[in-house]
């Protein structure tokens, strides 16, 4: 692949998804300045590795590169944020125990639907990275389960259980805020 080809591929595959790339990096890093560093790094790697893109969803490919760069960055700068990946089952158990029996009242659903953006942002930011990541990929980026599974390189069942758990934790956190 010539430089011209690489530049054209890069412009077609990566550049259109810059906003999504930045949004994902921001959610994973927790702030805009670090997200910019991550995306610049990811863009450079994507450019160098553009010949590895062999079709499929350009957005998912781009987000995969960003996600990998974000993990490298987290491992270096926020190692504690990643501790949970080793103890995910435990995190899930803790999450369940804190919830208690499900409630059926719709006022609670109303309370959730009324959340303002700042509070939601804070609550999502508090989620452990693996749960936050899968929630953002699904709800913010709108990826399908299968795309998320490929992007994170985990079985689809793991995507489903993490996503269900992420939402549980989030609902519990919002409920706690409210009481």
């Amino acid at each position: 692949m010539t430089n011209d080809d690489a530049r054209r591929r890069f412009a077609e595959v990566v550049v259109p998804h810059l906003d999504d790339a930045y949004a994902l990096a921001r959610w994973l890093a927790g702030n805009g300045a670090d997200a910019e560093d991550i995306v610049q790094d990811a863009a450079l790697r994507a450019y160098r590795g553009i010949s590895g893109y062999v079709g499929g969803t350009a957005r998912a490919w781009t987000l995969t590169v960003v996600r990998n760069c974000a993990y490298t960055w987290l491992a270096k700068n926020r190692p504690k944020a990643l501790v949970f990946t080793d103890n995910i089952e435990e995190a899930e158990r803790v999450g369940t125990a804190a919830l208690g029996p499900p409630e059926t009242a719709t006022p609670e659903a109303d309370m959730i639907a009324r959340q303002d953006g700042a509070r939601l942002t804070a609550a999502i930011g508090e989620l452990p990275v693996p749960f936050r990541e899968v929630l953002v990929l699904r709800e913010v980026q709108g990826l399908a389960y299968r795309e998320i599974a490929e992007l994170m390189n985990v079985p689809i069942g793991t995507v489903m259980s993490r996503l269900a758990r992420a939402r549980k934790l989030l609902i519990a956190a919002l409920r706690e805020d409210d009481s």
Binding site: D4, R7, R8, F10, A11, E12, V13, V15, P16, H17, L18, D19, Y22, A23, R26, G32, E36, D37, V39, Q40, A43, L44, Y47, T57, A58, R59, E92, P101, P102, E103, T104, T106, E108, A109, D110, I112, A113, R114, Q115, G117, L120, T121, I124, R138, E139, V140, G142, A144, Y145, P155, G157, T158, M160, S161, L163, A164, R167, K168, L170, I171
Partner: protein
């Protein structure tokens, strides 16, 4: 893989149901369980509320312009600039301002302003075959759609139906604008191919005519400057904005197509 018990399984399936990831048979199962189990129904209500809150209230992040500039500089044909001068966040001196890439960017901005104020200046074909081939492809898409009887793959006057339909089919998020008030009701959308890229085409109605608005990513401006005219008997208006090239094509009168393009650009924030 995480193993799940029966109750946990129901919760995963409920999430998948809310996400629209279940096939019809599995969705029917979940709906039956929801009807029979108030606890599960309450959980469903909370999940739907959470999704609604996230979609409506969560602020949308867009990449800062300096980040955009830095990433775009990779795709600019200056090999040395591509990999070395790549951290404007920390180095934005006079050197950056005089960099050829920045001059090119400034030139593009000036051209954009000129086009904006003069409204579709007719320019002689430049860039040659790519520009002409792209127009041919866009027109061919319109003709093929008319000939097929159903000029769209998704038929809806609701932009909230049409826009998500494109997700996963094209590599960008096309702007879907409701122009019913301007006399151009939305009729649907379809997929075309322009310049080897997958394009998103919106179909609008004008009385008995159809107008196709074909959009395709064109970050390098390969599809040429703004232009208008007729091709194969169809009126067209072409322009680019924010790295997307647009063609409005119709068998309606050329001034109708102009009016459509103006209406769309007037209402679409990024076009």
């Amino acid at each position: 893989m995480t193993t799940v018990s029966g109750a946990g399984d129901a919760r995963l399936l409920l999430n998948a149901y809310v996400d629209g990831e279940l096939d019809a048979a599995a969705a029917l199962d979940v709906e039956r369980q929801l009807a029979a189990d108030p606890g599960l129904a309450g959980e469903h209500a909370r999940l739907v509320a959470l999704r609604q809150a996230i979609r409506e209230r969560l602020p949308r992040e867009t990449a800062p312009s300096r980040l955009r500039d830095a990433v775009l500089s990779i795709a600019r044909p200056e090999p040395s600039a591509a990999v070395t001068e790549f951290r404007p966040r920390r180095s934005r001196g006079i050197g950056m301002a005089l960099h050829p890439g920045w001059l090119a960017l400034a030139a593009v901005l000036l051209i954009g302003l000129a086009i904006g104020s003069l409204a579709y200046v007719l320019t002689p074909p430049s860039g040659g075959e790519a520009v002409s081939a792209a127009l041919d492809a866009a027109v061919a898409g319109h003709v093929r759609a008319l000939a097929a009887g159903t000029p769209f793959d998704v038929a809806s006057s609701d932009r909230h139906t049409v826009k998500p339909w494109f997700a996963g089919k094209v590599t960008f998020a096309p702007q879907v604008i409701d122009l019913a008030d301007e006399g151009f009701p939305l009729a649907g959308g379809r997929i075309d191919v322009v310049g080897g890229s997958i394009a998103a085409s919106l179909v609008y109605r004008r009385d008995k005519h159809l107008i196709s608005l074909t959009a395709v990513p064109d970050p390098s401006g390969a599809f040429g400057p703004a232009s208008r005219g007729t091709r194969d008997g169809f009126a067209f208006v072409h322009w680019s904005a924010k790295g997307i090239a647009y063609w409005a094509i119709s068998d309606a009168a050329p001034d109708e197509v102009d009016a459509f393009a103006s209406a769309f650009r007037g209402k679409a924030p990024d076009a």
